[in-house]
């Protein structure tokens, strides 16, 4: 964590990221759980949250690919967020959800363990990774430390541990696949 430094939002730029031009969008985040840790993706990148439909496995597809689902007539590829982030695999549970994320090229489904809530963070609640000194994955954009009072729980209650941290993910890097 010592690699994290506080910065003003005007400096929230990571080259190549679409976020560079939209610092205000960065502050609306969807938080979800993977293997007990809280992660967040910018809300603008998420189209929809689905209960996990039957997933059709695609033989010979890449390791990250769980399979395909039909979303209102469109065939959508579902990626396993655990595999993407190199987290130990776990079976799908009742709490599992598929996030539909639009990376500009196609809409991809992302399987997560559980969806938490939407956070609206102030600038001082976000710590942006600098160069990350090579010891944090490319797709990690920074760390969010939401103060509980500002959180908007989906159930309308404030249920977050104030000490919770969110690992902010960069959708552009996360979803960039070999095409």
């Amino acid at each position: 964590m010592s690699d994290l430094i506080r910065r003003q939002p005007s400096g929230i730029t990571r080259s190549g990221s679409t976020l560079a031009f939209q610092p205000q969008l960065l502050r609306e985040l969807l938080a979800f759980v993977l293997d007990g840790e809280s992660y967040a993706l910018p809300l603008y990148a998420i189209r929809e949250i689905l209960k996990v439909p039957p997933i059709t496995e695609v033989p010979r597809a890449g390791a990250d690919v769980l399979g395909i689902i039909g979303v209102r007539g469109r065939i959508t590829t579902v990626l396993d967020m655990r595999r993407l982030l190199r987290v130990a695999e776990a079976p799908i549970t009742k709490a599992s959800r598929v996030l539909l994320a639009d990376d500009g090229v196609e809409v991809l489904g992302l399987l997560v363990d559980q969806v938490l809530q939407v956070h609206r963070l102030q600038d001082d609640e976000i710590e942006i990774a600098s160069a990350f000194a090579g010891n944090v994955s490319e797709h990690v954009l920074g760390i969010g430390r939401p103060r509980a009072s500002r959180s908007v729980s989906r159930e309308g209650r404030e249920a977050v541990d104030p000490n919770d941290i969110l690992i902010l993910l960069d959708p552009a890097h996360l979803l960039r696949r070999d095409r």
């Binding site: 439909p53 039957p54 059709t56 496995e57 695609v58 033989p59 010979r60 597809a61 890449g62 690919v65 395909i68 689902i69 039909g70 209102r72 007539g73 469109r74 065939i75 959508t76 590829t77 990626l79 090229v105 196609e106 809409v107 991809l108 696949r177 070999d178 095409r179």
Partner: protein
């Protein structure tokens, strides 16, 4: 913004395609030493329109190119420059330039050297006008007539006089109320007979609600025939007096030597084709003249631009983004799923005796729904269909260019342009066809001297035939060139290490020819800019197989080569056999299924590590799909298994599956971009109940299996 850009691209593309077609016709006319002023005008207007559109949407480079061509065309139109093959080359080059400019981006490399092209235009324009005596003096024209002629009209007049085409004056009277329709009708009647040079308000003027018009007409037809066709109802025909002749001297039959008149602009068939394949082409300013009482007759400047047109569009077509149709297709797919849900509910209701009446009613409603849904589906599929003529036209241009570049003479025969296939297929088809055609001209057809040595006509023939055969479309590309040298093919394949000598000996004639479809195979010793650019026939084959089609080749040394491409008419909806493999459901397009039989394990033999089955005397290689795809066995393996015999072209394979789930019409949907490299699947389909099944790419799998068999055999022997 993106939309505006697309709108421009679509419109420009259409204009360019129409332009290209017209240039080919002009080329043909020039070769036959015919003049076709109407056609030249059409081309001029198309370029003019393109210039306008380019300016409107902010494509200055395209505008510049159009402007240069427009000037050249204007010179041609006015006879300041004579039409020659050299000029045509420049015009064709211009069309290519337009095409390339459309793909140019602001920050990318410029794809067209406008300055150099400008010089080429200047070079052909510089030849100057042909010096000619004043032909106009041969006729006794009134100065009042000559003074109102536009430059273009004057040129047409001279040109006709020089060619010895007799001139006539048709005195007519039109009522203002119906002048548009009447004039149009008259023009239609006159068109096959000759050329209307101008319309002039007659010296006598007209009455309050009508106008007298003198029409100056050039025609090689006998006076009597002309008079019969055009006179009557206030119209009278008389020859224009020659200089020194009394004004009313009747023309003696046969006194005028009839020289070939400018023939009726185009063959009816080509006009039809144009209107069919690009209905919008008719939007290109058709000389529709809005004449009303408000516009004084003196403003009747007719031939040539600027052309006013009615605001009401002539065409009844709309341009639709194919993605919107895809979306509609998706909706229809969803509706089909709703339909089956309703059917199931109805079925359940029927089981209850107290609800029988309701069930019967619901059943009837459901049948109606089903019928209309089918109609809707057919309708959308129909909208997606476009005539193959669209791609044939592009190819005709390439044929001309490649033939000229290689000093070969090629006669292109086209048939079946009206055959319709899905828009998507047409798009994907143009590159493979182009490649085959280039090969045919480059490697297939011989140069005229060589052809004459082997007693063939100097002009080679390249034929493109398309026709529908059941639910498939067949396209044949046939040339009467040198044919393929089987021995050389085999030698090359051995040299490239594609096969070994032992395997080479076993090759049948067909198999030897099919070597050309192997990756990195090319027999051309000289790398030309056309065929030797590394894209081989294997790519052609892959592209066609991706469309669910097959390509076959026949060739006879010395007499020519014929490629036959068989494609499905549509990609969108197909009938499929649903099969179960280790608990998963896959769809196999019925077009590639020959039969399904129960697997008799005792009949399976293993040959060179590969399972084979003898089916009615022929050997059928087997493929256990579960193993081939590496599917985990945890779901189950049935004790009863089936063999689905799949055939593509003349190759067959038996897919071993665990169960058959029946046939179903499915809507194939593309897999996402991220799964594009995954081979073996043509897409996926929604089965309803939220279930999605992968659609097997039978041609692709077959290809894959046979090439691994081939490799296995080689490893064993080698």
């Amino acid at each position: 913004m993106a939309n505006v850009h697309e709108e421009f691209l679509a419109e420009a593309q259409e204009i360019i395609e129409a332009l290209s077609r017209d240039l080919l016709l002009l080329d043909q006319a020039q070769r036959e030493e015919r003049q076709d002023p109407d056609l030249l005008n059409e081309i001029f207007r198309a370029v003019h329109t393109l210039k306008g559109v380019a300016g409107m949407f902010g494509f200055p480079r395209l505008g510049r190119l159009a402007h240069g061509l427009e000037d050249l065309l204007d010179d041609l139109r006015l006879g300041r420059v004579a039409l020659s093959q050299g000029v045509l080359d420049v015009l064709f080059e211009g069309v290519e330039g337009f095409q390339r400019l459309l793909t140019e981006t602001d920050d990318g490399e410029p794809l067209v050297d406008l300055a150099a092209f400008g010089e080429r235009i200047a070079a052909v324009s510089r030849r100057g006008p042909a010096v000619r005596g004043d032909a106009l003096a041969r006729y006794a024209f009134d100065d009042s007539v000559l003074s109102v002629l536009t430059e273009y009209e004057e040129h047409r007049l001279r040109s006709n006089i020089e060619q010895g085409v007799p001139l006539y004056r048709l005195r007519t009277n039109f009522r203002f109320a119906s002048i548009d329709a009447d004039l149009e009708a008259l023009k239609q009647r006159a068109k096959p007979l000759g050329e209307i040079i101008t319309y002039l308000p007659s010296a006598e003027g007209g009455t309050g609600d009508s106008i007298d018009l003198d029409i100056l007409l050039a025609s090689g037809e006998p006076f009597a025939a002309l008079s019969e066709a055009l006179s009557g109802e206030g119209a009278s025909l008389e020859p224009v007096p020659r200089a020194g002749e009394p004004a009313t001297a009747p023309l003696e039959p046969g006194s005028e030597e009839t020289v070939t008149a400018a023939p009726p602009a185009r063959a009816a068939s080509s006009t039809e084709e144009t209107s069919e394949s690009a209905p919008e082409a008719s939007l290109a300013p058709a000389p529709s003249r809005a004449l009303s009482a408000a516009s004084p007759p003196a403003a009747l400047e007719v031939a040539g631009p600027p052309v006013e047109r009615s605001l009401r569009s002539v065409s009844h077509t709309v341009r639709v983004d194919i993605r919107k149709l895809d979306h509609l297709m998706n909706v229809v797919g969803e509706l089909a799923i709703v339909r089956s849900a309703v059917a199931r509910a109805t079925e359940r209701l029927r089981g209850r005796s107290e609800q029988r009446q309701l069930a019967i009613e619901l059943h009837r409603v459901h049948r109606g729904f089903e019928r209309h849904l089918e109609e809707l589906q057919d309708g959308i599929l129909d909208v997606r269909m476009v005539p193959l003529g669209q791609v044939f036209d592009k190819l005709a241009r390439i044929v001309r260019q490649v033939a000229r570049d290689h000093g070969k003479e090629v006669r292109l025969l086209l048939s079946g342009q009206e055959t319709e296939v899905d828009k998507l297929i047409v798009e994907e088809l143009s590159d493979p066809l182009m490649h085959i055609i280039r090969n045919a001209i480059d490697h297939g057809l011989e140069t005229p001297p060589v052809r004459e040595l082997s007693d063939k006509p100097a002009t080679g023939t390249l034929a493109l035939h398309a026709y529908q055969k059941g639910k498939s479309v067949v396209i044949e590309i046939e040339d009467d060139g040198a044919g393929m040298n089987e021995e050389r093919l085999v030698e090359t394949a051995i040299e490239r290490g594609l096969i070994d000598e032992a395997a080479a000996e076993e090759l049948s004639h067909e198999e030897a020819l099919n070597l050309i479809f192997m990756p990195s195979f090319s027999t051309s010793t000289s790398v030309t800019d056309l065929s030797g650019r590394g894209v081989g026939m294997d790519v052609v084959k892959t592209n066609i197989s991706r469309l669910g089609g097959v390509i076959d080749v026949e060739s006879e040394l010395g007499s020519g080569t014929k490629f036959t491409i068989t494609l499905p008419v549509t990609l969108a909806i197909i009938n499929a056999l649903l099969v179960r493999v280790r608990g998963r459901t896959f769809a196999l397009p019925i077009a590639s299924v020959q039969e399904a039989i129960l697997l008799d394990r005792d009949a399976v033999r293993t040959v060179e590590g590969r399972e084979m089955l003898t089916l009615r005397g022929a050997t059928l290689p087997l493929c256990r799909l579960g193993d081939h795809f590496g599917l985990s066995r945890d779901l189950f393996e049935a004790d009863k298994q089936y063999v689905v015999v799949s055939a593509v072209g003349h190759r067959r394979v038996g897919f071993v599956v665990d169960g058959l789930e029946g046939q179903q019409d499915i809507v194939i949907k593309a897999l996402g971009q991220s799964l594009r490299q995954v081979r073996g699947f043509a897409g996926a389909t929604d089965l309803g109940d939220q279930r999605v099944a992968l659609v097997l790419d039978a041609p692709g799998l077959l290809e894959e299996l046979l090439s691994t068999t081939e490799r296995a055999r080689r490893e064993l022997h080698g």
